[in-house]
């Protein structure tokens, strides 16, 4: 290891971040999740609208390493299912057949897909051969694979979150920057407006706005409107923080020294204010991101956000609204845990960055 004295502040911050095991692990996990969902077409064994009529509202199927005869095998398998008639009710039911196994194949062929129109393929990371099926998280009422849909939904939720965060960020940094830089009456006016916006209970307000969206709009239009609505939820906090930091930094001795050193205003901001800013901004961004993901889920869950055929984590849980559904098919809730995981990861990363950006930590 190099002596701390010779490292740059950025290297030190990265080292401090990495030594925070929870934060670093969270970052790795998030990167992994993003990677998998980015290639959802490949990693998901099914496409989001593909139906398995033999296994509707089916419970999650586990992976086993024991053969039908009880022996161990290295290759993963699932216990086969058979559909039979219930002798009493004469209804068709699907039950496990402990005597049979469906082996899991990697790079298996399935339904063909096109990855963002760039390439087409029918190879999936895993799947089971002809006649068999594998639903890790179960299926919904139409027999669609919840695991596959969760991967796609994860991508949608993250992408809309990211788009909203970027929009909120641009809005926040512009408005906050203007307020902080100009000061005086402009600042006071902007701050009053922001205080007012922050005192409004956000969810009912945006529910109302979302409800006003015309029914006949296309999925893409709704996606864009949702992005804006979600951005509106996040920008005020960002604007406030940017403003207070700019004001505080204006009289920082090293910023004054930079001005005396002949730096023009833009360079003062870029070279002498922004670096110290970045750490805090990342923290604020991760937190805004998690708020937005939560908000999207809530809106879509209530049927006022994204709608089918777009799948987001909130959309996936829409059928879980009725209590009967939860009790009979609790696996509808599984996508919800991904929301919890993302928000947790973002919070852990945010905390890690905060500590690493704090100069007193090393």
């Amino acid at each position: 290891m190099t002596a701390a004295a010779d490292l740059s502040r950025r290297q030190l911050a990265w080292r401090a971040f990495r030594s925070n095991r929870l934060a670093f692990l969270s970052l790795c996990l998030l990167v992994l999740l993003v990677f998998v969902s980015l290639f959802a077409e490949f990693f998901a064994p099914y496409t989001p609208q593909e139906r398995n009529r033999a296994y509707t509202d089916g419970a999650p199927m586990g992976i086993t390493f024991t053969n039908a005869d009880g022996g161990l095998s290295l290759a993963p398998m699932v216990i086969a299912r058979v559909t039979e008639r219930d002798p009493d009710t004469l209804r068709r039911v699907t039950v496990a057949d402990p005597g049979a196994r469906w082996p899991i194949a990697f790079f298996a062929r399935g339904e063909s897909y096109s990855w963002f129109g760039l390439f087409e393929s029918d190879i999936h990371f895993f799947g089971v051969g002809d006649g068999g099926y594998l639903h890790l998280f179960g299926t919904d009422r139409l027999g669609r694979d919840i695991f596959s849909r969760t991967l796609y939904a994860f991508r949608t939720s993250l992408s809309i979150g990211l788009a909203s965060v970027v929009a909120a960020f641009v809005l926040g940094i512009t408005v906050g920057g203007i307020a902080g830089y100009l000061g005086g009456i402009v600042d006071a006016a902007i701050m009053r407006v922001i205080e007012f916006l922050q005192s409004i209970p956000t969810l009912p307000l945006w529910l109302t706005v979302a409800a006003a969206v015309p029914r006949e709009w296309t999925a893409l239009q709704i996606y864009l409107v949702m992005t804006l609505i979600l951005a509106m939820i996040g920008w005020t906090t960002l604007a406030r923080r940017v403003r207070s930091r700019i004001i505080a930094m204006h009289s920082d001795e090293h910023v004054l020294a930079a001005r005396l050193g002949g730096n023009r205003p833009v360079r003062v901001f870029r070279k002498h204010m922004l670096p110290a800013f970045t750490g805090y901004l990342i923290v604020d961004l991760t937190l805004a991101f998690s708020t937005i993901v939560l908000a999207e889920t809530a809106l879509s869950f209530l049927g006022l956000g994204l709608r089918e055929p777009v799948v987001s984590l909130g959309v996936l849980m829409l059928p879980a609204q009725s209590i009967a559904a939860i009790i009979l098919t609790p696996w509808y809730l599984i996508p919800g845990f991904f929301v919890v995981i993302v928000v947790l990861l973002l919070n852990f990363i945010g905390d890690g960055v905060r500590d690493a950006a704090d100069p007193s930590s090393y």
């Binding site: 004295a5 502040r9 001795e253 090293h254 020294a257 005396l260 050193g261 360079r267 670096p275």
Partner: protein, 542 residues
């Protein structure tokens, strides 16, 4: 007579790492009744830890690994404070040992009334009712010189001045007539004039109560005023102990000698006035802020500087002296055009070019800053933590369009070496340096653009005594070699007399006295200046 407190072989260390050097190492001290021991040392020498060990209030991570603190209690007889359990310790705290803390503003809770907080030990130890205790607190406050004590007990700390609050803290510490008073840097946070009054009060109260006193300070001059004996601490070790006069006149240990030598003395040499021409003329300079007051968000115009006029002669060091909040820093920043002001500031450069600072913007200001630079107060905040020393020193030259990169680098190295650092340190970042080193870098940064005029804003106040002395020497030699004109802002009269040929005294945004250094020190006209000079602690040598 038996000593009230007898510390022997006290060793304090971080609990978990006995391998690390002890924070306080085999310290032995004793203080008799009515005696004051001055415990002197720089920050981190372990003096505050010692006082906390006596109070049994050490941070959880630190513990006494050896030694004893024998305290002759009035009620419990002789007890070893290191081994006393918490319940019995609590009976001594506030009752037999009173403690005075450094910053009165933060040592009181701002949301509780002063009377209630001063009365606390009386309620606890004398079993007084709350009402009776507050009445008694009023009596105590009156004794320590708080005006209108009857009303003062109903007030909150933020309604007090620092000096008054420190008096209240003394009242709280002596409320139960303790046998030992611990004063931990009791005047460091106070202005000079207030400091003198508080020191007098402390001595008086101690006499009245007849207690032993442990007086902790980093300031030898202050210690020499109050202490009967001095103990000098360095890196947790006692290096010298003896009667005050004797220690100061004939220090035995090198470290004590260095500390004494580091104290700035009055310069006997009057700096030869190079030329009579003024390099900077300030006339009728005013700065006011709109500040929001309280929750009503009403905005009041507050004048920080009003109609200040001042001239700096070329080739001299002019001191701007005043207590905190008197507007010194504002004056410097306004004179540099860093903040908005009204009035006139004119600089005439050596080549004859004139700068009317008030009228300058953008390009003009940058041209001015090539000639006028500033060294800031806090070296921990004034260097950009994201730039290496090289970048810090090269950037101003490039931005001011003074040199090519290669030449700027050479200038940077030269200036760095001149300021007492090595060229090999150029690639490092500020966090790798100590406070004194950082201040040298900051000085080098101000000087690389070759200014004629240098503003130094309290360049010493966040440094230890020994690095202070070295920075003073550096400033002296740089001024001579580079023919600088300097405006030195300071609250410390000792520094002023050592360096400056002219002195301006500021108070509440105005300059109340201004003239040659000798004249101001020998024949101060303004009563405030007189008080300031009288109050400044001087090393009392015979």
């Amino acid at each position: 007579m038996d000593p009230i407190i007898d510390i022997s072989g006290l060793t304090l260390a971080l609990d978990k790492s006995r391998s690390l050097p002890s924070l306080v190492d085999r310290l032995s001290l004793s203080i008799g009744p009515g005696e004051t021991l001055g415990l002197v040392g720089e920050s981190g020498s372990g003096k505050s830890l010692t006082s906390l060990a006596i109070m049994g209030l050490l941070p959880k991570a630190i513990g006494a690994t050896a030694g004893s603190i024998l305290f002759r209690s009035e009620r419990a007889g002789a007890v070893d404070l290191v081994r006393l359990n918490d319940r019995r310790m609590r009976k001594l705290r506030g009752r037999e040992i009173g403690m005075i803390f450094q910053e009165p503003m933060s040592a009181f809770s701002l949301v509780h009334k002063v009377g209630e907080q001063v009365a606390e030990p009386l309620v606890l130890h004398h079993g007084l009712s709350r009402k009776a205790a507050v009445a008694e607190a009023a009596h105590l406050l009156d004794r320590v010189g708080v005006r209108e004590a009857g009303r003062a007990v109903e007030r909150y700390p933020f309604e007090f001045s620092g000096g008054m609050l420190q008096r209240a803290m003394i009242a709280r510490a002596v409320a139960c007539t303790p046998r030992l008073i611990i004063a931990d840097e009791p005047t460091t946070a106070l202005d000079v004039t207030v400091q003198a009054q508080v020191l007098d009060l402390l001595a008086e109260v101690q006499r009245e109560v007849g207690a032993a006193m442990l007086f902790i300070t980093h300031d030898l001059a202050v210690a020499s005023k109050v202490a009967d004996r001095l103990a000098v601490l360095k890196n947790g070790r006692l290096v010298e102990e003896g009667p005050t006069r004797q220690t100061l006149n004939a220090p035995r240990h090198d470290y004590t000698k260095a500390l004494i030598a580091a104290l700035p003395r009055r310069a006997s040499q009057t700096v030869a006035p190079a030329s009579e021409a003024d390099i900077l003329t300030i006339s009728d300079l005013s700065v006011s802020y709109r500040e929001s007051s309280g929750f009503s968000r009403r905005r009041a115009l507050k004048k920080v500087l009003s109609d200040v006029s001042l001239a700096i002669r070329r080739g001299t060091v002019t001191a701007l002296v005043g207590e905190s909040g008197s507007g010194k820093t504002t004056l410097a920043r306004a004179a540099l055009g860093l903040i908005r002001s009204t009035g006139q500031v004119t600089m005439v450069a050596a080549d004859g070019s004139r700068f009317d600072v008030g009228t300058l913007t953008g390009k003009g200001l940058r041209a001015y800053w090539r000639r006028a630079q500033m060294v800031f107060q806090n070296p921990y905040a004034s260097l950009n933590p994201w730039q290496t020393i090289e970048e810090t020193l090269v950037e101003p030259q490039l931005q001011h369009g003074l040199a090519s990169t290669a030449k700027a680098r050479d200038t940077a190295v030269e200036m760095l070496e001149r300021c007492g650092l090595e060229a090999g340190m150029m690639k490092r970042f500020p966090h790798a340096f100590s406070g004194g080193q950082r201040q040298r870098i900051a000085i080098a940064r101000a000087l690389v653009v070759g200014p004629e005029l240098l503003f130094c804003d309290e360049p010493l106040s966040s440094l230890d005594v020994s690095s202070q002395a070295r920075i003073i020497a550096l400033l002296k030699s740089l001024r001579r070699d580079l023919n600088l004109s300097v405006l030195l802002i300071t609250h410390d009269l000792a520094v002023t007399s050592a360096l400056c040929s002219d002195v301006a005294v500021m108070r509440e945004g105005q300059i109340i006295e201004y003239g040659p250094s000798d004249e101001i020190f020998d024949r101060p006209r303004d009563p405030y200046t007189r008080r300031l000079i009288a109050a400044a602690p001087k090393l009392e040598l015979t």
